[in-house]
C-alpha cells in the first residue's frame, strides 16, 4: 500500500478502536495500527503465505474468501472495517459495502480509478487499460468490477452511504492539485471514509 494512503487511513482510525481489514495482505497496515493507534485489529486474507507473515508479525488473521466470508461477521461489532483495493475484486461490491456498514460504524474503502486519463486513452484506442497502477491484462486481472471515481460515488449516493472524508492519489502516490480538482480524470486511486446512518 502506498505510504500516503496508509498515513491517511491511520489518521482516520480512532485510537483504541476495534477494526477489521479485509484483504489485509501480510499485515503491514494492521501491525502499524496496532502499534501506533493501539487498535484491536483482525485481518482477513486468502493467501497462505501472507497469512503466515501476519502470524509472524503477531497480527491476528482469519483465512476467508471475502466474497463468502462477509456473512460470518454479521453478529460482530467493529468500529471500523477497511477494504483496501479489494472491493473491485468482489462478486457483489454493492452488497459488500452494505454488509461492512452493518457490522462496523465506519468503513474505509480504497479503489483504483478506471476514469484515470491513461485508462481512458487505452480505452480510446480500443484496448482494456493496462497502466502502472493496473498492470494486469484483462485475462489475468483479479479486478472484475472496476469503476470510476464517479461511478463509486454514485453507488454510495444510491445506497444512502455518507462519504465522510475522501482523498485522491495521483501517480507516484502524491496528493496532487490536479487530482483534487478533477479526481475522476487525474486520480489513480480514491480513498474513502464511509458511514451509514
Amino acid at each position: 500500500m502506498a505510504v500516503e494512503i496508509s498515513k491517511v487511513i491511520q489518521d482516520w482510525v480512532p485510537n483504541g478502536s476495534k477494526i477489521i481489514d479485509f484483504g489485509c495482505g501480510d499485515g503491514t497496515l494492521l501491525e502499524k495500527l496496532m502499534k501506533e493507534k493501539n487498535v484491536q485489529g483482525y485481518g482477513v486474507e486468502i493467501n497462505d503465505e501472507k497469512i503466515l507473515s501476519c502470524i509472524e508479525k503477531n497480527v491476528p488473521v482469519i483465512k476467508l474468501d471475502i466474497d463468502f466470508g462477509l456473512n460470518d461477521f454479521e453478529l460482530s461489532n467493529f468500529d471500523m472495517s477497511i477494504m483496501a483495493r479489494s472491493i473491485q475484486c468482489l462478486k457483489n461490491p454493492n452488497i459488500a459495502l452494505e454488509k461492512m456498514l452493518s457490522f462496523s460504524k465506519t468503513c474505509v474503502v480504497t479503489l483504483p480509478n478506471l476514469g484515470y486519463w491513461r485508462c481512458r486513452i487505452n480505452l480510446g484506442i480500443g484496448k482494456m487499460p493496462v497502466t502502472p497502477d493496473l498492470p494486469s491484462s484483462w485475462y489475468e486481472t483479479e479486478n472484475i468490477h472496476l469503476c470510476t471515481i464517479r461511478d463509486f460515488e454514485n453507488l454510495c449516493e444510491k445506497q444512502s452511504i455518507t462519504i465522510k472524508e475522501k482523498f485522491f492519489i495521483s501517480p507516484k502516490n502524491k496528493k496532487g492539485i490536479m487530482s483534487s480538482l478533477n479526481p475522476n480524470f487525474f486520480a489513480t486511486e480514491g480513498v474513502y471514509l464511509l458511514e451509514k446512518e
Binding site: 477489521i20 497462505d48 503466515l52 509472524e56 491476528p60 482469519i62 483465512k63 461477521f73 453478529l75
Partner: protein
C-alpha cells in the same frame, strides 16, 4: 534431545466433573528439552483420544512419538528452545491412572469402575502437574482433535496460566456425527463376547475383536476420501502379505493391520472412557454460550483447520474464531489443505509447521 519419562503421584486426589473423587492418582509424564531459569519456556502438549505421553523421539521400545514430525530439535516446536511436556491423560492406558491400573481403595484393578473423566478433569489434572513442575504460565498449550479441546479449555479454565493456545483440527463441541461414530465403535467393543461387561481383566480375557473393529472404523474417519484413493485406490493386496484370507483390497489389509496392532496395545475400557469424554465436551450449546464461556480468555489463540478433515471440519474452528473476535481475543484462524484428513494435524507440512513456529515465536 533430553528426554525424561516419569510418574508423578498426586496423593491429594482430584474432584471430577461427574461429582466423584479419585482419592489419589498418578500421571505418566514425558518431557523434552530443559526448563529455563525463569520457567517461561514451557510448552504443554495435549494428546488426542488414543495418544499418550510419548510425543517425540524414540522410546525404549523403538516407538516414535505421536508428534515427532513437529516436536524435536529445530522442528516447529523446538526442543532446543522450549521445555516440552506431555502427559498420558487420566483414564488412559499408558501408565497414568486409568482402568488398567490398581484402585488404591480396593487394591484391585479399576476395570470398568474407573470413573468417567472429562476434558475439564484432564485440564485440572494437568494444572496440578504444572504446579508440581513450578510452571505458573505455559508459553504455549497445544493439541489436535481432542487435544485441541483441552488447549481451548485450558485458556478458559486458567486464563492467567496460558500465554498462547494452539487449537488444531478441533471443535468447541463434538458434533452429532462424532457422537454417532463413537457409539458404533463402543458398541462393537461392548458386543465382543470377551468384553465381559467391562470385567475382562478379572476374567483373563481381552475384547480384541471389538477394539479392532472400533479402530478400523475410527481410521476411516481420520482419513480423507481423497487420501484413501491416492494411497490405496482399488489395488488388490498381494497374496504373500495378506493378513487374512478374507482380505481382497489393500485398504482392507491396511485397516486389518492397524486395527490388529491397536487392539494389542489399547484398553477397551479406556476406549470407552476417552470417547465418552470427547462426546461429552460441549462449551458451545449455542454461539452465545460459546462467547460467554470464552469471555475470560487472555491467551492468544491459533486455530487451525484442514480442508480434508470431515471429522472436525474447518467450520468448527471458524465458530471458535468468530466467538474469539466478538470477545476481543487475539486469535488467528487458518485453513490448510492437509492431505491426510483429520490426521493432518499429526504431520509436518511446510505451511503447517511454519504457522505453528511463527505463532510460538511471534
Amino acid at each position: 534431545m533430553k528426554i525424561e519419562t516419569n510418574i508423578f503421584d498426586f496423593d491429594e486426589g482430584i474432584h471430577l466433573e461427574n461429582g466423584t473423587k479419585l482419592i489419589s492418582f498418578k500421571l505418566m509424564v514425558e518431557t523434552y528439552g530443559e526448563l529455563n531459569q525463569s520457567k517461561s519456556n514451557g510448552i504443554l502438549l495435549c494428546h488426542a483420544f488414543s495418544g499418550n505421553h510419548h510425543a517425540a523421539g524414540k522410546n525404549a521400545d523403538g516407538i516414535v512419538g505421536w508428534w515427532d514430525q513437529l516436536v524435536g530439535p529445530d522442528k516447529a516446536i523446538d526442543t532446543n528452545k522450549f521445555f516440552v511436556v506431555c502427559c498420558n491423560n487420566l483414564g488412559g492406558c499408558s501408565g497414568s491412572s486409568g482402568p488398567t491400573e490398581i484402585n488404591p481403595l480396593t487394591d484391585e484393578i479399576y476395570g470398568k469402575n474407573f470413573p468417567q473423566v472429562s476434558v475439564k478433569d484432564w485440564v485440572n489434572s494437568q494444572k496440578m502437574l504444572s504446579d508440581r513442575l513450578g510452571i505458573s504460565k505455559w508459553h504455549l498449550i497445544v493439541g489436535g482433535s481432542l487435544g485441541g479441546m483441552q488447549a481451548l479449555q485450558w485458556a478458559i479454565s486458567y486464563p492467567d496460566s496460558v500465554n498462547k493456545a494452539g487449537i488444531l483440527a478441533a471443535a468447541a463441541k463434538s458434533s452429532t456425527q462424532n457422537i454417532a461414530m463413537n457409539e458404533v465403535a463402543r458398541e462393537s467393543i461392548r458386543k465382543d463376547p470377551n468384553f465381559c461387561n467391562g470385567e475382562y481383566i478379572k476374567n483373563n480375557k481381552k475384547p480384541k475383536d471389538g477394539i479392532k473393529a472400533a479402530r478400523m472404523l475410527g481410521h476411516i474417519t481420520y482419513l480423507s476420501e481423497q487420501h484413501m484413493d491416492l494411497r490405496f485406490g482399488r489395488k488388490y493386496q498381494d497374496e504373500s502379505s495378506k493378513i487374512s484370507g478374507d482380505v481382497d483390497f489393500e485398504v482392507e489389509n491396511y485397516l486389518q493391520y492397524k486395527g490388529e496392532k491397536f487392539s494389542e496395545s489399547f484398553d477397551a475400557n479406556s476406549y470407552i472412557i476417552m470417547t465418552k469424554a470427547m462426546d461429552g465436551y460441549d462449551i458451545a450449546s449455542d454461539n452465545k454460550m460459546l462467547e460467554e464461556n470464552m469471555k475470560n480468555i487472555k491467551a492468544s489463540l491459533l486455530i487451525v483447520g484442514f480442508n480434508s478433515d470431515w471429522l472436525y471440519p474447518p467450520a468448527r474452528g471458524k465458530e471458535i474464531q468468530i466467538a474469539a473476535i466478538n470477545q476481543n481475543i487475539k486469535s488467528s484462524y487458518i485453513v490448510l489443505d492437509g492431505e491426510q484428513g483429520h490426521d493432518s494435524f499429526l504431520f509436518h507440512s511446510k505451511k503447517y509447521s511454519k504457522a505453528i513456529k511463527n505463532f510460538i515465536e511471534s
